[in-house]
Subunit: 367 residues, 4 copies
């Protein structure tokens, strides 16, 4: 941190400011020039608010942060080595990370009923997904819109997990639902609207569960990493960052603007793995495949794709959902590119075990 | 709601779409032209999601909402009559509304200690404020920044309330703190970052307490009114809307952009009272007075002003705080304009009762 | 300007950077601490591009601008004294400036025909306007929309000027039309879309005519002042800055977001006079009066109001235009507030001379 | 276009509105329901401004555009067939289009001197570029920044063209420079700041030269296509659309936000070829390669890459420039992906002819 004071600063004032700074555990390097006095503040300055320093004296012209305000999320914190978030699922452990195959998350916006969620799980698993997404609690702009089936949807997710072997990703909106959600989810999602719900961040972090942290609609990269820092600061290192489109001035043809450049920017700032959600970002199923390709080429570690067995009847977010058949085709489209970049898992195709599971689950429906 | 179908829509498809629509309690008005088929959907269409309708058929070219998606927040809901939010305080009931004097809310960003909050309360009361703001739970971008003193700060607010007679406005961030906050606050604040924390909106609404709903950083007017609708839908009619600056592309000289035009826009859409917070909007104390003047001229019902006895030592948001003396001067500056618009209360000046309270409170400190 | 180099910078590299900097006429103040090397660059750093400096060495961690990049537009350039832009008109000289009455500019978006523009001029003059606005060349999003009557419209503006005595403000879009426009206009307008048309800025500046510089749709305050600097740099000091709404994420109820806070921010940065255009900012005539009031309260020096004798038939921008009667009422509404702030001219009401002119002009029509 | 009138609209008013509409060459389809009157307007409605219609009657509740406002730029205008822009260059004709290899444009921000531009041209040609970019007239935020060498730079571009055989892309900022620019450029560039400089669009279009139209900083997709429509409307079909980053709320780590989703959106709306400029979009050379990969995966037809022989000494935009060596490596990096998508030209590697040219040009320097 650098403090610039004007050339008319009295020597006592410079002294006073230096003393005020001594409450923090920092070293000061003063350089008194003819025109400006520059005080370099060295140490753990992440915890110092530049605005507070600015306030110390009217002679302070500028306070400039040189170090980044995040620490545990920073690339330096792990000496440049990428984090691997390893998530146990019934089908085995899946790793999110730069040196691992692309992880594919698929599923509907909301869990609507048992048949729908189990069928979707089995089909996206067969097509190569490793995680099932599905909302039990849904943040909706309107109080009159479908709000998710809540607790009962969680038990349906548990069934879909059992039937398909997929890991489960589902969102928590309220700290009072956290235990229930964490008991079912393999990865707990914090949605875009709650990215700066700091109480939720702390409590979700404290569960120790892997956390999927979606970027807020108009959150800067720095605010997003600071939100991750809240989770990391609880001692939970398993955070995955999900870009899902930011709000821009143009919302006519896409719902949000997918910020693909967040990928290389995050790579230069943090060790955390990255997921891209082209479904929510564009809001239109016809753009999902193209934007997923762009994300893979830019190096994403994971993709989240909305899939619904019958988008026309979806209780929420139908227009952005692929059909199950559309998802099967999508997986074929991206597989070549995944292989080109050496990030396609060998055994993504349905295994014998899976076939077995399919038949046993089919029994559930016929039973 | 209007559904436009293309000129090649088969008659069976038009029929099918009409039947699908019958699950809602609406009346259809079909008009089949040479080029387009237009289906007018009349009734309680607030509850219908245009995106869901769009999905019903590939022949649907456009779905256009004619009615507004909010109902209880709409001006029509009260036949154009403005809501009056009446809040009991120790100093008597205060009314927020278009036909009432400006309500002035003042106080520090966070409650720091007893002396500080009680002194500030007494001084802003003496200068003419009716409410004390002060954060017990603080949403901070960084986990390393001061997070508020929490529960103990609530009890200090209770003391300040008793000492000054001012009503208390303080923020709740987590549903699990709601009971504690609601037991002290006369008005419960939902902060900008939680505007779309729908669980919180529902539970705060259900307390029946008056709610101050701050606009999200990049929330549209419609999203903001939909958030208010969540509260109103719990049966709680006491919502005050607070504009506190939106995020724009330019953040160099002001922290946010105060959207003064929200005032006339809200007036044309809703009956709810309006508050303007120029302190958070600009982030600089030197701009607060000018922007407050603009807000008064545009017809705001209330102002929220940050005041700190010693901004240079503030644990949060110092640069945007007025000193107590600055606030006294501010009140004198705006009084003339308030009177010009007939919105200045007669008995804002400190009363005999207050003097009495001041002396009894001073005793607290000396005790 | 401050250059921060890392603690591993070789002494030769620091030396090399210092030498590279010597091509500018600046003084360097080096301070070599244990952790960082800070080089203060003192002098006319407005002309140095921080990005270029950053490029000088990979050891440079940050380049921080301390001084503002504009010079002639800065408040310091005139030692804090506000500029007065004095514009001769047939009715006498009108002064734009902080210590002068509000200047009112009114008129239609485009000049449509002689009767329309002359009638509007006479009526807005009678209601108290000092300038007539009217477009001869119109920037329109669509090539199929009315583009203005061009040169012939300029001669109609000249007639309206003669008939009413009002000064003329009209926009130039192309350097090749500049001579024609400047021969008629008392103030040449540069529109929002051309704010960074630097060729135009230079050539308009060189005419010596007063210039009305509209803020670009997504121009930062700094970019706007830098555009003004282009004009000032030609030796032309007569620049008026016009805020007309910026582009934000919400365009549902207002076309743009009127940035009222630009007024106090500009006051703290520049000596140039300020105009506010609530008509283009909101895009809706019903919000014009409220936003004009806000602008007056915030200290604007001038207002630009769209007025059309028959908005429903306007060839462009009808919905934001006041009728002539609406404008008369508007002037009555704002007069009180103008007087409250001591910024209402005494003799704004129609004078005897004007009455004479009205009758002689009426003759034009009857002739 | 659809006009919705309220249920209390008098029959005479509906009749009057219908008559007013008859001045356009459109067919009306009225449907009078119990609650709303809907008038469908069929025909060439691109030329009708919805706001003007709105103004026709206070009983009109909404005017909704069903057709797109652009016509010649629309995909339908060419029945879904992509445009091929064929540009003759000394090295042969190069085609921009969806069914053609990626076209690579490379070169410095500004032309600085002969050696620099000729050397860069030869080296980027050898690495596989087909066009040389280089600014003679530079739009710069500050009047004190380097403005380009103007006319003399044009003659250096002509020399570089001769020496390398590359086509030339350079920007025109002022209609008065157009003849000079068009005499040297193979493709005339309209910069982001001039995207809505409609006089320039018309005159550049009228030259018949291929036009590179950069998207404005905060231009919507629709405004961008309308700007293209200005050029197409002059009878010039050779327009290439270049996305170069849009302005968002976050400018900390990238200068702009590259809107990759513009690629699939444009594909669904227009037949025009697309170029992506990752250099200006990110403002940082280290992100250029990753974003170029994303653009290729999303289907761009062309890339514009900033290359400077010595970025540290660049007179403008150094930090975003690749070195010549960096560009050679970049071309190797993207070649594989280009081939994967079948969009890499076979003979991009330096040919015998080129080697010849290199040696003969080297002679220029040694001469």
């Amino acid at each position: 941190m650098i403090i610039v004071m004007g050339n008319k600063s009295p020597i006592e004032e410079i002294q006073r400011v230096s003393e005020e700074l001594s409450i923090w555990d920092v070293t000061l390097e003063k350089s008194i020039g003819k025109h400006k006095v520059v005080i370099g503040v060295v140490g753990d300055t992440e915890e110092i608010d530049p605005k507070q320093i600015q306030n110390l004296s009217p002679f302070i012209e500028q306070v400039l942060r040189v170090k980044k305000p995040f620490k545990r999320a920073s690339l330096e914190f792990r000496y440049g080595e990428p984090t691997e978030v390893v998530v146990p699922t019934p089908n085995g452990s899946i790793t999110f990370g730069q040196n691992h195959p692309l992880v594919i998350v698929a599923g509907p916006c909301s869990v609507e009923n048992e048949e729908m969620i189990v069928e979707t799980a089995l089909r996206v698993r067969a097509a190569g997904a490793q995680f099932l997404r599905g909302g039990a609690y849904k943040p909706r702009t309107s109080p009159y819109a479908f709000q998710g089936h809540g607790e009962s949807a969680l038990s349906l997710l548990a069934k879909a997990r059992l039937a398909s072997g997929l890991g489960i990703i589902t969102e928590v909106m309220d700290t009072s639902d956290l235990d229930k959600v964490a008991s079912v989810a393999d990865i707990v999602q914090i949605g875009a609207r709650n990215m700066q719900n700091f109480s939720l961040l702390k409590k979700v972090g404290a569960t120790g569960k892997p956390v999927l942290l979606k970027r807020g609609l108009s959150a800067t990269i720095e605010e997003w990493l600071m939100a991750a820092e809240y989770i990391l600061d609880t001692g939970n290192p398993n955070v995955i960052l999900c870009e899902r489109g930011i709000r821009s001035f143009d919302r006519q043809y896409t719902r949000n603007t997918l910020d693909i450049s967040a990928i290389p920017v995050l790579r230069s700032l943090t060790h955390l793995p990255i997921m891209i959600d082209p479904s929510h970002a564009t809001g239109k199923s016809e753009y999902v495949s193209t934007m997923a390709m762009a994300a893979i080429a830019a190096g994403t570690d994971s993709l989240m794709i909305e899939v619904h067995p019958n988008p026309a009847k979806a209780l929420s977010d139908g227009p952005q959902s692929l059909t199950v058949e559309g998802f099967e085709q999508f997986m074929q489209e991206i597989a070549g590119l995944g292989r080109f970049f050496g990030r396609w898992t060998q055994d993504r195709s349905p295994s014998a075990t899976l076939s077995l599971q399919v038949s046993s689950t089919t029994a559930i429906f016929s039973g």
